[in-house]
C-alpha cells in the first residue's frame, strides 16, 4: 500500500493517431477491390436493367429469335451466343490436349535443364498481346485455312479465330495443369514405379487422375478466358451477328460485338448503348461463375494433399 505513489509501467496499447490513419488508409485500399466489384455489378446491372426494362425487349424475343439488331428492334441473342460458344469450343479443343500434354511433359518427363529451356516458350506465348494474335489469325491462319479447305473459308471466320485463341490459352492451361500435376505427392509415383509401371503408365494412370480436379479448374479458367477474349475475335471472326454453326463462316461474338459497336459513335441512353451493357453484364456473370467454380475446385484439391 505504501508503494502507491509509484506509477506502474503502463503496458496498455498507446493510441497512436498517425498509425490509426495509416491503418485506415490501408484498409480502404484493400476494401476498394470490393467497391470495384460492386461498381461493375451496379453500373452494368443498371444499364442492363434499362435494356431489359424496354417494353420491346421481351423474354420470348431475347431467347426465342435469332436476329440481333437492337437498333431496328431485333433482340435475339442467339447469334452472339452461338458464335461465342463455337469459337470458345474450338479454342478449348486446341488448348486442352496441347496444354495438358505440354504440362505432362514438363512435370513428368523433362529434366530441370530441359524445363528451363522449354518453359520460356510458353511464357513468351502468354505474354504476347491479344491484338497481335488477332493479326496472326487474320493474316496467317485464315490464308492457311483457305489454302487447306479452299474457297469455303470466308475471310473472316470463326475457325481461324478459335484456333488462334487456342494457342493463346495454351500457356494458361499448361501452367495451371503443371501446378496440379506437380502437387501430386511423390509417393504415388514411387508406388507405381515399385509396381513395375512405366513412366507413361504412371503419368497417365496414376498422376493424371490424382491431378484431375486441378486440371478441371484449369479447363474452366480456360473456358472463362476464351469467352471473355475480345481482340482475336474482333479482328478475325467477323463483324456482324450471324446465326450459323459453320466454323468457316463469319460470325460476331459477344465480345466482338461490344468492341465494334462501342468503337463507333454511340449515344448514351440509346438501345444500342444499353444492349452492350446487357451483353457485358452477361459476360461478367458467366466468367464470374466459372472463376468461382474453378477456385472452389482448387481449394478442395488443396485440402486433399496438404
Amino acid at each position: 500500500m505504501e508503494n502507491q505513489h509509484f506509477r506502474p509501467l503502463d503496458l496498455k496499447k498507446k493510441m497512436r493517431l498517425g498509425e490509426t490513419v495509416i491503418q485506415t488508409l490501408l484498409f480502404i485500399a484493400g476494401f476498394l477491390s470490393i467497391f470495384i466489384t460492386l461498381a461493375i455489378v451496379y453500373e452494368l446491372g443498371k444499364e442492363a436493367w434499362l435494356f431489359f426494362g424496354n417494353p420491346d425487349v421481351t423474354f420470348a424475343k431475347f431467347f426465342g429469335t435469332t436476329r440481333w439488331q437492337p437498333g431496328i428492334g431485333q433482340f435475339g441473342i442467339w447469334p452472339l451466343v452461338t458464335s461465342t460458344l463455337i469459337t470458345s469450343f474450338i479454342a478449348i479443343c486446341v488448348s486442352l490436349p496441347l496444354g495438358l500434354a505440354a504440362a505432362l511433359f514438363l512435370s513428368e518427363y523433362a529434366s530441370p535443364k530441359a524445363r528451363s529451356t522449354l518453359k520460356p516458350i510458353l511464357e513468351v506465348l502468354a505474354g504476347i498481346p491479344t491484338v497481335v494474335y488477332g493479326y496472326f489469325a487474320l493474316l496467317f491462319m485464315t490464308p492457311l485455312l483457305q489454302g487447306i479447305f479452299g474457297e469455303d473459308v470466308e475471310v473472316y471466320n470463326m475457325l481461324s479465330a478459335g484456333l488462334v485463341m487456342g494457342i493463346m490459352i495454351l500457356p494458361l492451361i499448361a501452367s495451371m495443369s503443371e501446378d496440379a500435376l506437380s502437387a501430386v505427392p511423390r509417393m504415388l509415383r514411387e508406388g507405381a514405379y515399385a509396381m513395375g509401371a512405366t513412366k507413361y503408365e504412371t503419368s497417365l494412370q496414376v498422376v493424371l487422375p490424382a491431378a484431375l480436379s486441378g486440371i478441371g479448374a484449369a479447363l474452366i479458367i480456360g473456358i472463362s478466358r476464351a469467352v471473355g477474349e475480345t481482340m482475336i475475335v474482333a479482328i478475325a471472326a467477323g463483324s456482324g451477328p450471324n446465326f450459323t454453326f459453320n466454323p468457316f463462316k463469319a460470325a460476331e461474338t459477344m465480345t466482338g460485338h461490344i468492341a465494334r459497336i462501342s468503337g463507333g459513335d454511340l449515344s448514351y441512353n440509346s438501345i444500342d448503348y444499353t444492349s452492350l451493357f446487357a451483353i457485358a453484364f452477361m459476360l461478367f456473370l458467366v466468367t464470374l461463375v466459372l472463376n468461382l467454380i474453378s477456385e472452389a475446385i482448387i481449394n478442395k484439391f488443396r485440402q486433399r494433399y496438404e
Binding site: 477491390s33 470490393i34 510458353l122 505474354g127 491484338v131 493479326y135 513412366k199 479482328i235 457485358a280
Partner: protein, 412 residues
C-alpha cells in the same frame, strides 16, 4: 500356376508385353513433347508472319516528277530548302493549316522530307509483297512489276524506320507513324501505374500484415482473385460508364477549365487501365511481402517497433524489388491491352500529340487493331511494324522484370 496366369504374363510373353509397353510409353512421350513443339512452331510462325509483313518489295509511282519542283535531287536538300519548296508549292491555306498544327520552321528535315513526298510529289503505292515473296521470288516480282506497272519504281522497304517512330498518324499508310500512339500509350500507362501502384501496394500490405482472418478479409481476398479473372472488356464497359460518362466533368477536364473535350480522354483510359491492373499488382505485391522472412518482423517487434514501423522500415524495403517486378509485369499487361481502350477511347483518327491528361488519345494496340482491320495491304505492313515496336517494348520490360527477379532470388 494359379488362375491369375491369364492376367499376369510370365517368361517370354512377359518380355514381349514389356517391350510393347515401353514402345507405347515412348510414343506417348513423343506425343507429349510434340505439344511443346507445336507451341514453339506457333510462336515462330507468329513472329515470322509479323516480320513477313513489315519488310518487302513495294512498287510505287510518283504522281509528279521531283524535277518539276527542284533541280537538285530530293535527298540532297537541307531543311531550309525543303521548307522553301513546301512554301512555294503548297497552297497558302494548306501551308497555314500545317503551320498551325506545328510550326513548320521547327519541324525536322525528315518530317519535311516526308511532307514533300506526301503533298507535292504524291507517292502512290501500287502493290506490296511479303518478305518471303521478295526474297525467294524476287525475279517473279520484278517481272510482274515490269508487266503490270511499267512506270513504277520497285524498292525493298522496311516499313519500320526511325521516321515511322517519329511521325504522327496519317491517313496514308506510307506516311503514317506511331509517334502519337507511343506517346498516348506512355501517358495512359503512366496514369494507370500512378493510381494502381500505391493503392495496390496498400491493399497488399493490409491483407498480409494487418488483416485478421475474419469473414470480411476472406471476402476481400477472394474478390481480388476474381477481379483478376474478369474479362478486360468488362473493365472497358465499367470505364465507359464511370469515367467517360458519370465523371465526365472530371475526366474531360471541364472542371479545370478545359473546354474542347468530352470524357474520352487519356485520363479515363489511364484510370480504367489502373483498375484493370490493380488485382495483378495486389497479388504480386502480396507474394513479395509473403516472401519476406518472418524473423525480420519478429526482430522488429522484439525491440518494440509498432506494426507500421515494422512494415515501413523492414518489410517494405525487403519486398520492394518484388513489388517493382510485379508492377513492371502490370505495365506490360497495360501496354498490350486493347479492348478497354477501344471502348473508352473510341477515337479513330488522332494526329496530334497528347498534351496532357485531358487530351484525346490513341495508343499502340489501338493503331495495330485499326490498321489490321483495313483492307489495303500497305496498312497491314504498318500494322506489322507497329507490332514489332510493341513487342520490343514488351520484351525490354519483361527482361527488366526477369533481371530484377533474379537479383531478389539471390538475396535470400
Amino acid at each position: 500356376m494359379n488362375s491369375n496366369h491369364d492376367h499376369y504374363p510370365e517368361g517370354d510373353s512377359f518380355r514381349r508385353s514389356l517391350s510393347g509397353r515401353y514402345r507405347t510409353a515412348s510414343i506417348w512421350q513423343a506425343l507429349f513433347f510434340s505439344a511443346l513443339v507445336i507451341a514453339l512452331l506457333s510462336l515462330v510462325a507468329l513472329l515470322y508472319n509479323v516480320a513477313d509483313g513489315a519488310f518487302g518489295y513495294v512498287a510505287y509511282e510518283y504522281k509528279h516528277d521531283p524535277a518539276e519542283f527542284t533541280a537538285k535531287p530530293l535527298d540532297d536538300l537541307n531543311q531550309e530548302e525543303l521548307l522553301a519548296l513546301l512554301k512555294a508549292n503548297l497552297s497558302s491555306g494548306a501551308y497555314d493549316k500545317l503551320n498551325n498544327e506545328q510550326p513548320m520552321e521547327k519541324r525536322s528535315k525528315s518530317v519535311l522530307y516526308t511532307l514533300v513526298l506526301e503533298r507535292l510529289i504524291q507517292i502512290e503505292t501500287l502493290q506490296i509483297w511479303s518478305m518471303t515473296d521478295s526474297i525467294f521470288r524476287s525475279a517473279g516480282v520484278k517481272a510482274e512489276v515490269a508487266e503490270n506497272y511499267p512506270e513504277a519504281k520497285l524498292e525493298f522497304r522496311s516499313w519500320l524506320t526511325p521516321v515511322f517512330l517519329t511521325t504522327p498518324m496519317s491517313s496514308k499508310a506510307e506516311f503514317a507513324g506511331v509517334r502519337t500512339a507511343i506517346l498516348g500509350t506512355l501517358w495512359m500507362v503512366g496514369i494507370a501505374i500512378l493510381t494502381a501502384l500505391p493503392i495496390g501496394t496498400g491493399a497488399a500490405i493490409y491483407l498480409q500484415e494487418y488483416a485478421s482472418k475474419n469473414f470480411l478479409n476472406r471476402i476481400i481476398q477472394t474478390n481480388i482473385n476474381n477481379l483478376a479473372g474478369v474479362p478486360s472488356i468488362v473493365y472497358g464497359m465499367l470505364g465507359l460508364a464511370i469515367f467517360v460518362r458519370a465523371l465526365e466533368p472530371f475526366t474531360s477536364g471541364s472542371m479545370f477549365g478545359v473546354t474542347d473535350s468530352n470524357g474520352r480522354t487519356i485520363l479515363s483510359a489511364g484510370l480504367t487501365m489502373g483498375i484493370l491492373v490493380l488485382p495483378l499488382i495486389i497479388i504480386n505485391a502480396q507474394e513479395a511481402i509473403k516472401a519476406v522472412p518472418d524473423s525480420l518482423r519478429q526482430a522488429a517487434f522484439g525491440v518494440g517497433a509498432t506494426r507500421w514501423q515494422t512494415t515501413w522500415h523492414h518489410v517494405l524495403p525487403n519486398a520492394l524489388p518484388g513489388i517493382l517486378t510485379g508492377s513492371i509485369l502490370a505495365v506490360s499487361r497495360a501496354i498490350g491491352e486493347t479492348a478497354p481502350l477501344i471502348i473508352v477511347g473510341a477515337s479513330t483518327f488522332i494526329s496530334l500529340d497528347p498534351e496532357g491528361p485531358f487530351s484525346k488519345f490513341t495508343a499502340l494496340p489501338i493503331q495495330i487493331y485499326q490498321w489490321t482491320t483495313r483492307a489495303q495491304s500497305e496498312f497491314h505492313a504498318i500494322a506489322a511494324s507497329a507490332i514489332i515496336v510493341l513487342l520490343i517494348l514488351l520484351l525490354t520490360l519483361n527482361a527488366t522484370a526477369v533481371l530484377l527477379r533474379n537479383r531478389v532470388q539471390r538475396k535470400y
